[in-house]
Symmetry: C2
Subunit: 82 residues, 2 copies
Amino acid sequence: MPKFMDVHHGMAGITAEQLMEAHNADLAIEKDENVHFESAWADPEAGVVYCLSDAPSAEAVQRIHERAGHRADEVHPVPLSV
Amino acid sequence: MPKFMDVHHGMAGITAEQLMEAHNADLAIEKDENVHFESAWADPEAGVVYCLSDAPSAEAVQRIHERAGHRADEVHPVPLSV
């Protein structure tokens, strides 16, 4: 399954609890699109969140994020990893 | 140890071999700054590389990347993760 890194801006001040809630909202519906959100990392000061997922397409990743209430600003296929 | 996500732009066309070489160049010297580069993901089409590390500071991450020949464009502390 292809991997994707998506990026959310404008998240300044995000808390650990809010990150967990947002991630859980994705996990609750991700199976509808055969997506799996593996990890997410947040920089609350710059307001950036990175999410790593396995998914059939960037569009599938975005559809889950949109339905969960947090559209990504960028969704990058990352076919290479080490 | 704090976690960091750093971002490199302008990497369009990067290959799996080049990503591995760059990562290995970091690993070879990372102990000098008590940094550990855990993973890296590349989008060769958009030319973006994301690196996840454990490090004492953003400056330590950048010093290793610079010495390895690939300065990061952004280094974000990511104190929150899920």
